[in-house]
Symmetry: C4
Subunit: 124 residues, 4 copies
């Protein structure tokens, strides 16, 4: 498969609501960065989180196996500091091989779901 | 008409909910890749589906007649293996002529509809 | 003001639902192509509509005065043939000066609103 | 951190509904332009607002500190003229260093929320 993508990506509009009318994993309010890797080798992606009033956090690293996709959930935190809810943030992705990043949010503050997505901003 | 587009496209964020409050074709939870062809000849587009934990599936091929549009529905499966519901996936499009790909999802897990769209990531 | 944009734009995913729970202009199900012109002269934009099973319609022309924006509504038809409801279509924009095209849809088939938008695909 | 972005950005589809079923800051109908700055110095961004029938307003200037993000809310007005509600507009961003702009809208005219977002159109 051809390797496609860019080496730097940014999602400018990050925001995770603190409230959810459903708490199951699929429906809780969440944001994801979908990370596609179709090259011959695993991609290692550094993710840095920027806020409006604090220092940047990261980079935190995730691995995407060759010919796989990974949907990273910003809600989850392992070795990195958690992202504050109800708070504006942005994110910067610096992989070691070409990847493609798409931003998505599910907002379940109300009984019905609201969704948004966009291809992130990528550059060489 | 001018031929416009790119030769490789990726939708990083694929996800089809298994649930729908309506089962008619227009309102069932679904995802489409909208494929525009405005060149002088039919476009043949290879579609490969990537998952997080299994090998890639495809390419499956669809044809788009000249000066027509085709809205491919990921829910449908003919000669390719069906895409699992409630499961992260990504897709790669490799046409033989220039096309434009736009990603859309309708989510009807709840009584009200949620929609999202984005121009996919394309490169030469 | 600087002139920004591209000379060809495509919206691959066109779809106007026939149903609306509200019929006032702001809330009826509709699609728009938002057309920004910030150059020194009026932009004339040719709009061609592609379908999945009929010949392309157009180009239909609209004018965007200098330093103004125009939100073209696909629901409206004047000298061009109306776009069928509940039917897949795509659109091609060919201005005579640089413009920027953004695609938006409001879906009011249900009591609550669903929205989507994306920057269209543009090329030089 | 690497500096990423473009020097000119446009959001073609601006629209702020006058109505909201909730008046708290997070849920009132609003539009934001998310402005990411990861360079070594503060970004100064000139924002010009275009309408369909009046002269352009601006540029209004905002500052984004180095390695911070700023989510500018079009609803707010300080030294610039307020943006009319229920009225089509577009916006042009002219920073003095590279930034990335993402457009977002929350529409709470109905009891449930509708969201949309897109990476804006950027050029060098």
């Amino acid at each position: 498969m051809r390797s496609v993508g860019k080496m730097v990506w940014t999602i400018a509009d990050g925001y995770i609501p603190s409230q959810s009318t459903s708490l199951d994993r699929a429906s809780v309010s969440h944001e994801t960065a979908c990370n596609r890797s179709a090259g011959p080798s695993e991609a290692h992606v550094g993710i840095t989180v920027l806020s409006s009033d604090r220092n940047a956090i990261g980079p935190h690293h995730v691995g995407v196996p060759a010919d796989r996709t990974l949907h990273v959930r910003f809600n989850d935190s392992s070795d990195r500091k958690p992202i504050l809810r109800d708070t504006d943030y942005s994110s910067l992705f610096e992989p070691d091989v070409l990847v493609v990043i798409q931003h998505a949010r599910l907002d379940s503050r109300k009984a019905e779901l609201a969704l948004l997505t966009t291809t992130a901003y990528g550059q060489d």
